[in-house]
Amino acid sequence: MPPDKDHRALVRYRVLAYTTATLLIVLVFAGIPLQIWYHNLWVVEIVGTLHGYLYLVYLLVAFDFTRRLRIPLVKMLLVLLAGTVPFAAIVAERLLTRRYANRLSASHDALSPASARQVK
């Protein structure tokens, strides 16, 4: 198994990716129409503020996680920017989680042969 730290980074990243993505979808698809057509500002103000501050946290956490995952720089920047585009953060989260899982299974195959597995 990999160090727990990596897994904690994954969990942190996923929680924040989903939270910011959800807030952004609410902001863009509910808040902004309400603001434009009904001049109702409170959704934009509350959700926008929340998303704004959570995005800062998302940046830190996503940076940490992509670094651990050794994502190339350009992709890392895309992941960081994904927090500002509706649905993009969810797509990025899916891709990164799959990559993390692949990395785990690859290192398992390489490091622990089936015989070692059975000793337990």
Binding site: M1, P2, P3, D4, K5, V44, E45, G48, T49, G52, Y53, Y55, L56, L59, L60, F63, R67, R68, R70, I71, P72, L73, L111, S112, P113, A116, R117, V119, K120
Partner: protein
């Protein structure tokens, strides 16, 4: 130490690591950590340029949002806090870009280490291992004869740094597998 650990606890030779020791000894030591000026590599200069554009850009954007906030849009306050934060994050990013050794860290580092048969170590620790403590460490097991001869005769600081780094790799490798 779980029962399914393949490596003996007392520091026996690691299958992958030993082969890698041989590979690495003749190989890319010249490009290894230490020795070169990290502030003026191509990568670092690009990072400097990006930072010089980014930070004033953030300052301008923050000022713009302050104007919006003073105009009565309360969301402007959020963004006038965020832009300075973006500037700080950019600076952190720049710091990592300059100090990371792309030959051992990140995607390229991973590829190189896998090609060399090494197990990639944890990020962060390696950069430090590469930069400083060149010292007297050598490879703990395996490949000792080859490197040992080199060490006693030439005392190449780069090679010594690389040995320290390999030793650290070996240590990390066990803890990685042992969990």
């Amino acid at each position: 130490m779980t029962p399914d650990a393949v490596v003996p606890a007392s520091g026996g030779p690691v299958t992958g690591g030993q082969g890698a020791g041989g590979l690495v000894a003749g190989g890319p030591v010249a490009g290894g950590p230490g020795g070169r000026d990290i502030w003026w590599t191509r990568r670092a200069v690009l990072a400097h340029v990006a930072l010089v554009i980014w930070v004033p850009g953030c300052a301008v954007a923050a000022w713009w949002q302050v104007g919006i906030a003073l105009g009565g849009d309360s969301l402007g306050w959020v963004y006038s806090v965020m832009w300075p934060c973006f500037a700080v994050f950019g600076t952190i990013f720049w710091w990592f870009l300059v100090h990371d050794d792309p030959d051992t860290l990140g995607a390229r580092g991973l590829r190189r280490q896998l090609e060399a048969g090494l197990e990639p170590a944890e990020l962060g620790a390696q950069a430090r291992a590469g930069c400083g403590n060149a010292g007297h460490a050598s490879i703990p097991d395996g490949g000792g004869d080859l490197l040992g001869a080199n060490e006693s005769e030439e005392e190449d600081p780069e090679l010594a740094a690389y040995n320290a780094y390999l030793a650290q790799l070996a240590g990390k490798e066990k803890s990685w597998r042992a969990r």
